[in-house]
């Protein structure tokens, strides 16, 4: 802190062996502690979807990429079992790939219905709840069936709302 009460500001200048420089503003710094580089083999999953128009959709899968076992395209009745048997090398890089189309058994919907039953929830009654209250119930149901939002909580809420709507429709 400076005597006038303002934060001390410094600029960190980074220089690379090829002459490149970058600057970062830092404040209230006492000194340099350490610099280190982590070198490790990273597994990163890339999931690519074909789009109706334009470029493919590319999704990055960071959670245990080699353990991803199934991909379901809900609403399209398509499901794929992941089987990373194929191995291709490009220099230091290795790409593992492989999948087979399987029948979508509708497992997730069955589990969702069971979770509703277990908690005594009626799809119609849930859909008539206020937004905040509905979200709390949907979180409970998601936790029950091990279903969580990957990036945005709204995706999971909207998916479960869709399931509820389908259940209401199928009853009427």
């Amino acid at each position: 802190m400076r005597s006038d009460g303002k934060m001390e500001t410094n600029f960190l200048i980074l220089e690379w062996s090829d002459g490149w420089r970058e600057v970062i503003r830092v404040s209230s710094i006492k000194g340099f502690l350490r610099y280190y580089v982590i070198q490790r083999m990273e597994n990163v999953g890339r999931l690519v979807l074909d789009k109706v128009e334009g470029y493919p959709e590319l999704l990055i899968i960071e959670r245990k990429p080699r353990d991803l076992s199934k991909i379901v395209l809900y609403g399209m009745n398509k499901a794929y079992r992941v089987n990373l048997r194929r191995k291709e090398r490009f220099g230091d890089k290795v790409e593992l790939s492989g999948h087979e189309e399987v029948e979508d058994s509708g497992e997730i919907k069955k589990e969702f219905v069971n979770a509703l039953r277990k908690r005594g929830y009626d799809p119609n009654a849930l859909l008539s709840l206020k937004d905040d209250e509905l979200k709390e119930r949907l979180k409970e149901l998601g936790n029950e069936i091990n279903l969580y939002p990957s990036v945005d909580p709204r995706d999971a809420f909207d998916f479960m709302k869709l399931l509820l709507e389908e259940l209401v429709k199928s009853k009427s």
Partner: protein
């Protein structure tokens, strides 16, 4: 071949394989289970800052839990519970450890976990070490766990608090252990300590007459003066033999 009656095994990064405990996976699971995936990056950043303060992630788990709560988790006890629960999901026994522990037990060797635990001991299953042993079915092979918080006898569930305050690093824990083992008719020369860190597992144990084996499967801290060096647990089968079975 070492002929021993007692074998002590270090927990973190030795008996326990931490390699699956990746920040992106652990914090991803925690935040998603809280339905707040938007917090993942910031919490990882803060957790990495804590690592710089404590020196290693293992040290955070041993000593820094209050700061995980206040600095990383916005004082959410619910999130802390998830952190502790989900951390366990990513920790696995070292490769070949179960088979090796069975061998050592069959050799009639007493097995202790010797861990630098900082959290006050409670009933079995309430600390990170014994809950790990329970979860993976390893507790049946061990007779006791010795820590600076006390010794838990896994058979009687009794806690011996005379170990309190004695650490591996200052060596007093090994003094107490040697005294304890002598009372059971076991001399330090009939004991072997297996661990990865020279300053806590090898040097102080060796100084007190224990045989020592440095495990470098996950972290290699360089030469330590240990009697043997191993990279995998099954190698212990070629080094250790029980005294009783030798006499048969």
């Amino acid at each position: 071949m070492l002929r021993v009656k007692w074998c002590g095994i270090d927990f973190g990064q030795c008996l326990m394989d931490p390699r699956n405990l990746r920040n992106k996976w652990l914090w991803g699971d925690i935040c998603k289970k809280e339905w707040k995936p938007q917090l993942i990056d910031e919490r990882i950043r803060r957790y990495r800052i804590l690592k710089e303060k404590y020196g290693s992630y293992g040290a955070i788990r041993e000593k820094g839990i209050p700061e995980v709560l206040s600095f990383v988790l916005e004082n959410s006890n619910e999130a802390l519970k998830l952190y502790q629960e989900l951390t366990q999901n990513y920790l696995t026994p070292a490769e070949g450890a179960i088979d090796t522990l069975k061998y050592l037990k069959d050799e009639g060797i007493k097995l202790y976990v010797v861990a630098e635990l900082r959290k006050t001991l409670g009933p079995i299953g309430t600390d990170i070490v014994s809950s790990f042993l329970l979860k993976h079915g390893l507790i049946q092979y061990f007779d006791a766990m010795v820590t600076p918080q006390g010794k838990i006898d896994f058979r009687t569930h009794e806690i011996d608090y005379t170990y309190c305050g004695k650490t591996k690093e200052d060596g007093k824990l090994y003094d107490k252990l040697a005294e304890d083992l002598r009372q059971q008719g076991i001399q330090p020369s009939e004991c072997v300590m297996v661990g990865d860190k020279p300053e806590t597992d090898i040097i102080p144990a060796k100084k007190r007459g224990f045989h020592t084996i440095q495990f470098i499967g996950y972290y290699d801290f360089g030469p330590s003066g240990a009697d043997y060096t191993i990279s995998t647990f099954p190698e212990l089968k070629n080094i250790i033999k029980g005294i009783k079975s030798d006499e048969k």
